[in-house]
Amino acid sequence: MRSVTKGQVEISFSSDISYLELVQDVSDHIARLVGLDAESQYWIGLSLRESVTNAIQHGNQLDPTKLVVLRFDIQEDRLVITVRDQGEGVDEDQLPDPLDPENLLKPGGRGIFFVRSFMDKVSFRKSAEGHEVIMEKRLNHKNQGDENDD
């Protein structure tokens, strides 16, 4: 059941890994408010967790005085999630492919790959306020279940 069809939620926090579970709680909650089923909630939560981990680690380099800003734009037909950090951003074209045989056994480099696998559209943007990852999930009958939103 969908209880919000339009709206905006923004949350910002210090660059501290301790807030990752909070991010996931908020993500799950909003995914539920827009009527997404449990499966979609899960993969959106994971994508968000990866992007926020990157923002804290790579973007803000664990500097606790720097903030991560998370924005949920709830629209009729899509949920747009933006993660902003105060870093220099990432060069999309330079990202190594984690499926390349020479990268297969590397310990890292799968975060953005997960985000791209589970969201419908992913883009990166440099702005005056910092670096942003913009992730979109389309809302449609396929991913909207009949679950209780408690």
């Binding site: 890994i17 967790r49 981990t53 499926l99 297969l104 790959f113």
Partner: protein, 112 residues
């Protein structure tokens, strides 16, 4: 995350509970594995049936444990993947790397 250790037929089984994520000290598995290798216990089975969540750091943790063990001539295999973890290993092509099992007995016998 908590890890319990048991042994069966020369195989060390690590029962892993909870989350394997960046926040949850995911280096714990790697450290435990290193201790085992030092004690010359090179047949290691990770039981992941009670793992509630894995992120990309957690996947990385499994991979580095795997390479560490393999490099020292040991074997590291996975038992009881959850549906979600199996999906993550599938899309990252790591299912082709890891030996995985849903039956503990079968997994133990595979080390012979």
């Amino acid at each position: 995350m908590t890890i319990e250790t048991r042994t069966a037929n020369g195989v060390t089984i690590l029962d892993i509970h909870g989350k394997i994520t960046i926040g949850e000290g995911s280096a714990e598995i790697r450290n435990r594995v290193r201790d085992l290798l030092q004690a010359d216990r090179k047949n290691i089975l990770l039981n992941l049936g009670d793992v509630s969540y894995v992120d990309s750091s957690g996947i990385g943790e499994l991979v580095s444990s795997y390479t560490t063990v393999t490099n020292q001539g040991g074997q590291l295999k996975l038992l009881n993947l959850t549906k979600k973890l199996r999906e993550l290993l599938a899309i990252t092509k790591l299912l082709t790397v890891f030996d995985t099992f849903d039956d503990e007995q079968e997994a133990i016998e595979s080390f012979r």
